[in-house]
Amino acid sequence: MALVQIRDVYKSFQRDSQRIDVFTGLSLDVAEGSFTALMGPSGSGKSTLLNLIAGLDRPTSGTVRVAGADVHAMSAAQLAAWRARHIGFVFQQLNLLPVLTAYQNVELPLLLTRLSKKEREERVRVALGVVGLDDRIHHYPRQLSGGQEQRVAIARAIVADPTLILLDEPTGQLDARSSQEVLTLLQRLNSEFGKTVVIVTHDAHAADKAKAVLHLEKGVLIERAAVGA
């Protein structure tokens, strides 16, 4: 069974008197251990799709299952706990709390677990090690470059060992080199650690790193196999 199962999802937004239908009967599977790039023009519904998978937004109808759980059957409180356990999310920007150090930012998801301070510290150090920022542990976001900030955000997304990592244009604000670093890191997370990754990107190079590329056009999927990988 696929890790993510989206079945017959409808999603529309009401803006003033206007109704925007983003999805009209979308179905999609994401396999465990896959690395999927989600592409498509602006407004095609990429962010909306990630939000639905993460349980940040509800579909108008249809079901979203992640690791067997019906995401939208849960209460708000259950959903929060479920998200803490299963989802690591990275946005395009402003992922980090500016008043917290890199260490404290990465520690946030672990505060919600029963782990002791010492166990939390071990995990935070490992996560920051994986993204190559062992030497920036006590830096604040403003003391980091854009690429480093995104790597801290990725460290935070993986620190609680989630089932699924979702990234919404994580390299959108980065220069070519930093983008490359972030993508290579994601590739490693997928191949070495077996993490399931779904990344929204406009960057064709980024899509090349993925094992599968999905094209979204006005809420409709056009699938094709990745060239490189």
Binding site: A76, A81, A84, Q93, L97, V99, L100, Q104, L108, L111
Partner: protein
């Protein structure tokens, strides 16, 4: 408390704002404690008085004297165990800037009547032996740097002329409501100097049974009803309370000011909390994405408000308690026993709690109910 670093980091974001808000709360509660203590001190003064002591004054008004000849007749009344008398002496010392109360009393009977005025035995004897002797409260002695055996000269305002007393005793009240800021001298010295034998300002009677107070008071007043100086007799408590009622409006004013101050600070605190919350919409959305529940975010915002108001409360209330203790404040003798009491601290704490709820509730609910998707769309 694993979330404390997060809350503290948020408070540290605008250090000046946090400091000013906390300081406002502290100042408000300091003022509240001070004003309320004025009220409680006045009330305690009105409450003071033994139920076994009656005070008889001239029915025309307290400034009119009563004949000293009444003493014997009062002592003879059934139920009366002891009688003493005293007279208000308006006096100025030095430049007169530092006011204190001065009384002329019948020494032996007065000290018997008021065991609350604690005086070493040898000093008591000296006071009883020497006509121009005076005893002073510990505070007064310290304020002017007097010492035992010193001659002190007062200018009389009611009884004119220079009056010189020798300090023969220093008393400490066993009940804080008794003023430790007084000079007490001998009634016979007053009479002798004024050449006016036989007048007392008021009489104090000790009675055998507090339950008979009303009856005995009536007996006294009946006794002198048709004389040239009729009396008005009541319990000592009523006597003290009659002074306190003059303060009645002050109490109302104090309470009103106190409430106004607290309300003003509520607005300040609430505004600061709102500002902080509004700046952090995006961060709240991030925390929710990580898996922080609505209730947790509610709690974190409340905790933040609570830290500000409780720190303010500890500083303001604790500061008031310690400051008035340390400086031995008594408003130059007008508010003896001025001390922030436990009830005031408790009410102040409750106000701090209310401040926390009132200032934290709206931003906390807003954080809890923030829809993540909407919030993120505004950020990006």
């Amino acid at each position: 408390m694993r979330y404390l670093p997060l809350v503290l980091a948020n408070l540290g974001r605008h250090k000046r704002r946090t400091f000013l808000t906390t300081a406002s709360v502290a100042l408000a509660l300091f003022l509240f404690a001070s004003l309320r203590t004025v009220v409680t001190t006045i009330a305690a003064g009105a409450q003071f008085g033994s139920a076994r002591r009656l005070v008889a004054t001239n029915a025309t008004g307290i400034v009119f004297p009563l004949p000293l000849a009444y003493a014997g007749r009062l002592r003879a009344l059934p139920g009366v165990q002891a009688v003493s008398w005293a007279n208000w002496f308006g006096g100025r010392y030095g430049d007169g800037k530092r006011f204190f109360a001065t009384f002329a009393v019948d020494p032996a009977s007065y000290l018997d009547m008021y065991p609350e005025i604690v005086l070493p035995a040898d000093q008591r004897d000296a006071f009883l032996r020497e006509r121009s002797a005076a005893i002073v409260g510990r505070r007064l002695l310290d304020v002017f740097g007097w010492h035992l055996g010193q001659d002190v000269t007062l200018q009389g305002t009611i009884f004119s002329g220079d009056w010189t007393f020798t300090i023969r005793g220093v008393y400490t009240p066993s009940d804080p409501v008794i003023n430790d800021d007084m000079l007490i001298f001998r009634h016979d010295y007053l009479d002798e100097r004024m050449n006016r034998a036989g007048f007392a300002g008021w009489y104090i009677l000790r009675i055998d049974d507090p339950n008979n107070a009303a009856g005995i008071a009536k007996l006294v007043d009946d006794q002198f009803r048709n004389s040239s100086a009729p009396t008005k007799t009541g319990t000592e408590q009523a006597f003290n309370a009659s002074f306190a009622t003059m303060w009645g409006n002050v109490s109302l004013l104090m309470n009103t000011i106190g409430m106004a101050v607290v309300f003003a600070i509520l607005l300040v605190t609430a505004n600061a909390m709102m500002m902080s919350a509004r700046e952090r919409t995006g961060e709240v959305a991030v925390l929710k994405t990580i898996g922080f529940s609505d209730w947790r975010l509610f709690g974190l915002v409340m905790l933040e408000a609570g830290l500000i108001t409780l720190t303010g409360a500890v500083l303001g209330l604790g500061g008031a308690k310690l400051l008035y203790r340390a400086t031995n404040f008594n408003a130059a003798g007008f508010l003896p026993g001025f001390d922030v009491d436990g009830t005031t601290l408790a009410v102040g704490g409750a106000i701090a709690l209310l401040l926390m709820l009132a200032s934290g509730l709206v931003p906390a609910v807003r954080a809890a109910r923030l829809p993540v998707v909407q919030a993120l769309r505004h950020v990006e």
